[in-house]
Symmetry: C2
């Protein structure tokens, strides 16, 4: 949209001044109502199951439970549909260090009013941040506070052993905002294709739909721990080329969501080579890099490290977030992405688009700083931070394993014991009888199962169709965040057993 | 993008497995670099001057000033380019009440650790919010915390005397996020037109460009206090219709940005009638509704009140924010919009799109609650809140008036004494000599002036071309937030006098 268009336009002549107020209002009755059909068709295509039909029904149940005689067969709704560790009903508490910094940034007078309420290292950290930022009520640089970007770059260098440039870091309102920005930039037209894993986190299909691009699905192998196959991606590319699709980017989620799978370095190297061959931007969603349940056998290696080690020229975007890991600060909306092998003019475009949204939330940016600069051994906050984070890591790993074990004992359910992330993605075999019943109800079979689970137990999961799955396969995603595994899995077991009674295996 | 597309696709045969890692890497050299030209062309068209060339150069100067021998003719950069009240160098302090609530939400233990650090009403308020929200580290409802939306609706009812429904309120990450959502929904194709005032806040042209719609500019009258003319809008519509443009919405900014003008109710009624006649959605940007410098002669009336009083059926979106007013909490990213006369299915679409972004920042949502529920007379926090907010209102009104008065005394500068918002938008007459010099430098004349101002004084303003202006007219926007008006305006006067010496009137 060029500005000259405005300044060039002739100033209106007085020839229209005849239209009077009266004549306008008299035509009010001719007004056409605003309809869904008249809106941006790309918006209509967007699907986001994590907060879709199931979540909305769960919300209704939650409200109904407040009524004295609600008549529901459960006394609480368990939201296993979303990785939201600090939500009411779960037992993951915020990391004290993060909240102390947040409170001191919000209300610096507390240093004087409550000098003993904060450890010395917290006070020093908050002072350091304030000396750079000033008030967190002010807009920051659109790319994020410079000193925080510097700390992010230092964190990446320590993690990978390769250089990182603060000017290549963009702080964002959660990783989602960065994903949306990158996809909106890469989709040049309807033929622009983005390779996405199936199953995937639906943010990707939703954003590709919003910007009217074409998803190029590649399937992960549920029979082999949800592994990623180069051949599968190659064949997806071949099909895309035949359809005249122009592949622009490869999305990899590592650790996987919803699968929890971790990539081996050899596969990561092959993926980088594949991006070289097909001139693809690699979008590496690494928001679960700190959710590792089997670190010895399933470690995490960043794509930044692989690309640096291979000296590959591929453009890489690496996403990270404060919402997951053990911090779980979803509500603050904080995260970042790092650009590798991007030209300065493309980064300038990213800055321009970031600046239209002004800046990421400062409380989210502050939390990113605590994510990449946790308390160090010897500092006053270290012991508490260590015990709090260890407890969360351990609880998550144990729950994940126990839940997978018990689900796998149920007839017709097979479930990969996720080595990472926050979820399980069990496959459920559904009988023809169940599928017919689903069709009668006008639902996808897995949605039909998930709705029945919610109606009977109050447990809200997300049907596999929300993430994508092979034809004729059915899954659901549930989080491993819920306390009281016995009660929780007990309900799942009881429900599934009754389901089998009703519909057969 | 339909999901069946995935599930239906045939699982790839093994015919591609012949492509080996080696054969891939050997083709690495064939990789095409990622170029700007290959990206989404709509993104390239986006312009956002508020954080453009001038702001970037100001940032460079700010860094250069840290060097001992910087050799610059000024010792500090004054950022008058953006309404960012709490930025370093300005003297607007945060409202204590807002920050106390924020700190208690972040670190509830402070209630016990520092019981005397907080007034009783603040503690009660935080407890009430926490009982509904739980941890602010959790995602909230995508539309915003229900109880906060309820309080917003109560605020609107008290302001206007007409009912408001919490389910029609969407909390957002600043008003910008809401504007972007609505414009992305309304632009159904390239022929979809959005009426925008000229001058306008460039968020509108930037977002229309991003979603590839067509701006329909209507000019405000700088000779009559930047008034809005129905005839001018009618004529803009006639021209749009002739060009085959399909007008979808009318953007009105009241109080105006950058103009500071306030609409009279009679004009607001005519604008509503005009929307009825042309079946337009009215997008009412009312983020400056609390920045009124002449309340007796220039009061604010919301479009919600006008539409309700007229019982008009027009779809209306009203935007508000915590970033402006006297709160100035830009960095928290908080705001809301209210939908009036929107069908439930269109609101469901808004919810779906909001849910892809998960939720607005909780610390922004909390601040919205303090915006719509300030301390009441008799509550412990009231006196301090009153004196803090009165001081800011008064300082802003005085600065605005004094700055306008002094600028108007300068040859070739005429400036409306803004009755509202945070800005002045002086018109500057530029000589042929100055315009030639600008052309030589490859700059718009007003940008050339603003760059010279920054180079000589360190004052960063935004050229009028960033907002739009009549052909051959030149302006700049500066904020009225800077302390030390004498020094500040003194620098502007000295620069302009030297400019006249060099280039003539």
């Amino acid at each position: 949209m060029s500005f000259s268009k405005f300044t060039m336009r002739r100033i209106p002549s007085s020839s229209f001044t005849s239209i009077s107020h009266r004549s306008i209002s008299s035509r009010a009755s001719t007004m056409r109502p605003l309809t869904v059909e008249s809106l941006n068709p790309s918006i209509l295509k967007v699907e986001y199951a994590v907060r879709g039909e199931l979540a909305i029904k769960a919300e209704e149940y939650r409200n109904k439970l407040k009524e004295p005689n609600h008549g529901l067969p459960f006394d609480r709704v368990i939201s296993s549909n979303i990785g939201n560790p600090q939500q009411i009903g779960l037992d993951q508490r915020p990391i004290t260090f993060v909240r102390q910094i947040g409170a001191l940034m919000d209300y610096p007078e507390l240093e004087k009013l409550a000098p003993n309420a904060f450890p010395k290292d917290v006070i020093a950290r908050a002072q350091e941040l304030r000396s750079e930022i000033g008030s967190i009520g002010a807009y920051s640089h659109s790319q994020g506070v410079p000193i925080i970007r510097k700390h992010v770059a230092q964190f990446i260098e320590q993690r990978d052993g390769f250089p990182s440039d603060p000017n290549h870091i963009f702080l964002t309102a959660g990783a989602s905002a960065g994903v949306s920005l990158l996809i909106s930039m890469l989709i040049s037209d309807r033929k622009a294709g983005i390779l996405i894993p199936i199953p995937q986190y639906p943010l990707y299909t939703a954003t590709i739909a919003q910007y009217d691009g074409t998803p190029i699905p590649y399937y992960l192998d549920g029979t082999a721990g949800w592994s990623t196959s180069i051949n599968e991606i190659e064949s997806a590319l071949e099909i895309a080329y035949k359809q005249g699709i122009n592949p622009r980017a490869l999305v990899v989620i590592n650790p996987g969501n919803p699968t929890g799978a971790l990539l081996e370095e050899s596969i990561q190297e092959e993926l980088v080579r594949l991006c070289e061959e097909h001139s693809l931007v690699l979008l590496a969603d690494e928001v679960y890099q700190n959710n590792l349940h089997k670190r010895s056998t399933h470690p995490f290696t960043s794509f930044k490290k692989i690309v640096s080690r291979l000296k590959s020229p591929i453009p890489l975007i690496s996403f990270h977030s404060i919402s997951k890991g053990v911090m779980g600060e979803c509500g603050r909306r904080g995260g970042y992405f790092e650009c590798t092998n991007f030209s300065s003019d493309i980064r300038a475009l990213m800055y321009k688009m970031a600046s239209v949204g002004l800046c990421p939330p400062l409380q989210g940016q502050i939390a990113v700083d605590t994510l990449v600069r946790p308390p160090q051994e010897g500092e006053e906050s270290y012991q508490l931070w260590k015990s709090e984070t260890d407890t969360i890591h351990q609880a998550l790993a144990e729950r994940t394993h126990v839940m997978a074990e018990r689900l796998n004992k149920l007839p017709g359910i097979s479930c990969v014991d996720s080595p990472g992330a926050l979820y399980l993605f069990p496959q459920i075999s559904l009988s023809d009888k169940a599928i017919e019943a689903a069709e009668k109800a006008g639902k996808q079979p897995d949605t039909f199962y998930a709705l029945a689970l919610l109606d009977k137990t109050g447990i809200c999961v997300v049907p596999g169709s929300g993430f994508g799955q092979r034809q004729g396969h059915w899954h659901y995603r549930l989080t491993c965040l819920c306390p009281g595994v016995d009660e929780y899995v007990g309900k799942l077991e009881k429900f599934h057993t009754e389901w089998i009674k009703q519909y057969g295996k």
